[in-house]
């Protein structure tokens, strides 16, 4: 197995009294695409949001257990530092509506008060947009509002926004669920490109998407991690009954 970038030990997550995740143990390898799948309400999104500690934002939400990023306990890390190292792309594209495309890409810097020279900015914007394969489509309209783009373009803008921070890991929360099939395809191709430089964790409810894009798959059910394996192995030869039921469409 490759170098592991993220180590999860006995993670439990709660909303008030309700337990959403119970005793998750998982090691996530570097520079791979890891798909988290399972029926809705299984805790896969909560797990994702625990990694960059967005889960704690909801009133009454808390977690127990440990997650290590490069062997550093993220619950002891500074939240701001942690979130700069772990980028996130959301279910619905959410570019900042008050900002232009250009400003959106470097918003992580401007909002954090990190000053960049003009050439640094331009370089960073172009580089991030190229990586998000959006550069060609928007290079002439960099100073237009991001909200004028199509849904798929907006989502790639959000990816560029995350990339610009040069994170170690990027979390994707069902990034294609609000997009049309063509845009979805583009995003999937993009994911495959990105894994050279980043570790990608993607939540999906789409079995084919998980099978197509990921190297590893984790199957969640009712707040538990049922199975974690190489995607090919998990789909062709599931070790657990629930996994088999799920991938053969018997529930979900």
């Amino acid at each position: 197995m490759e170098n592991s970038i993220l180590k999860v030990e006995h993670l439990n997550a709660f909303f008030g009294e309700a337990k959403i995740l119970s005793d998750i143990i998982l090691e996530i390898p570097e520079n791979q695409i890891i798909a988290l799948m399972g029926p809705s309400g299984c805790g896969k999104t909560t797990f994702l949001r625990s990694i960059n500690r967005l889960h704690e934002l909801t009133p009454g939400a808390r977690t127990e257990g440990k997650i290590y990023l490069f062997e550093e306990d993220i619950y002891k890390m500074n939240l701001i530092v942690l979130r700069r190292k772990i980028g996130m792309v959301f279910q619905r594209p959410n570019p900042f509506p008050t900002m232009s495309i250009f400003e959106n890409v470097i918003s992580g810097y401007t909002l954090n008060g990190i000053s960049l020279s003009k050439s640094q900015k331009e370089e960073l914007v172009e580089d991030s947009l190229r990586k998000a394969s959006l550069w060609k489509e928007v290079q002439d309209n960099l100073h237009k509002k991001g909200t004028f783009l199509s849904g798929g373009q907006q989502q790639r803008l959000c990816i560029a926004r995350s990339l610009s921070m040069k994170p170690d890991i990027i979390l994707f929360d069902e990034p294609t669920s609000s997009l049309d099939p063509i845009s979805s395809n583009k995003i999937e191709e993009l994911l495959l490109d990105l894994k050279k430089d980043y570790t990608i964790i993607i939540v999906t409810h789409n079995l084919q998407q998980a099978a197509r894009t990921s190297d590893y798959t984790a199957f969640f059910y009712l707040g538990e991690l049922i199975e974690f394996n190489k995607t090919q192995a998990l789909f062709s030869n599931p070790a657990k009954r629930q996994t088999e039921d799920y991938i053969s469409g018997r529930f979900g």
Binding site: I80, L82, R83, N94, F96, P97, T98, G108, L111, M165
Partner: protein, 281 residues
């Protein structure tokens, strides 16, 4: 057709006509008021009206410069106090809307909104005028500021609540601190709501008289010192409307015209802000 059914259709028609008639009648007072104010007011308006003080009884002419300056200063100071505080309080209510404290604060805003303006006049008299020993424009501004708070708070809260949570999360996920997320992302997005709420509340208090009676008190001369008594348009209208002199009535009509036009203008600005500036999510 059956007679009974015919009767039911007649009833339906009569009812609808009645509704329309009463609705049209309800709009009549506004049109009449505007008509009279424009008719009477426009004849008293000229350049002298804006640059002169009111003249004593018997002398022709005179203006409302003291009230114009006073209204401007009093309302400006009130906005200075109410808008930043109201925006923050609205932000608090939208961010912590599940909090126990926020529930009570929300109730508090409702109650504040319902307090009769004359009671606020009494309160500021007791809090500011009595301890300082004299009437002042500042005390009037404080009274108006309290009146301005509820609408500003509510419109801020309503606008900010409409902003999708994921926008906030996107910023936090980039490692942006919470306060910067709020100040640089959320507040700019809600700016139109905050502005329109503020302008609407300015237009509401610009016409208030009751809270100024025992605070700003009025002043027949030009005064720009906010620690001294000051006139305002509504106070001037009140003082001159009750008099029996035709000249003073004319002055009051002119002042009403200026006041109403300013208020209508502010209302229009609010509407435009609400429509044009709506940011798309």
């Amino acid at each position: 057709m059956d007679k009974a059914i015919k009767l039911r259709f007649y009833k339906d028609r009569i009812f609808k006509s009645g509704i329309i008639l009463l609705t049209v009648l309800s709009t009549l007072p506004l049109l009449l008021i505007l008509f009279y104010i424009v008719k009477q007011g426009i004849t008293s308006i000229n350049w002298d009206f804006f640059i002169n003080l009111p003249k004593p009884v018997g002398e022709k002419g005179g203006g409302i410069i003291n009230a114009l300056i006073g209204s401007g200063i009093i309302v400006f100071c009130a906005s200075l106090m109410a808008i930043p505080f109201g925006a923050l309080a609205g932000l608090y209510l939208s961010e912590y809307n599940r909090d126990k404290l926020a529930y009570w604060v929300g109730l508090c805003v409702d109650v504040l909104q319902g307090i009769p303006s004359i009671v606020l006049g009494i309160i500021i008299y007791l809090w500011v005028v009595k301890p300082t020993g004299h009437f002042s424009a500042l005390s009037g501004s404080i009274a108006l500021a309290i009146m301005m708070l509820p609408p500003i708070i509510k419109s801020t809260e309503e606008t900010l609540k409409l902003i999708p949570v994921t926008i906030k999360e996107a910023s936090l996920a980039l490692g942006v601190p919470y306060y910067k997320t709020i100040l640089r992302i959320i507040l700019p997005m809600g700016l139109n709501g905050i502005l329109s709420g503020s302008i609407l509340s300015i237009s509401r208090v610009a016409g208030e008289t009751a809270p100024l009676l025992f605070t700003a008190f009025g002043n027949p001369f030009i005064n720009t010192n906010i620690l001294k008594p000051m006139s305002s348009l509504p106070l001037l209208i009140y003082n001159y409307a009750g008099s029996a002199y035709e000249d003073w009535h004319k002055l009051a009509w002119g002042a009403s015209f200026v006041l109403i036009m300013s208020i209508l203008f502010l209302n229009l600005v609010t509407k435009i802000l609400e429509r044009r500036w709506r940011i798309q999510f």
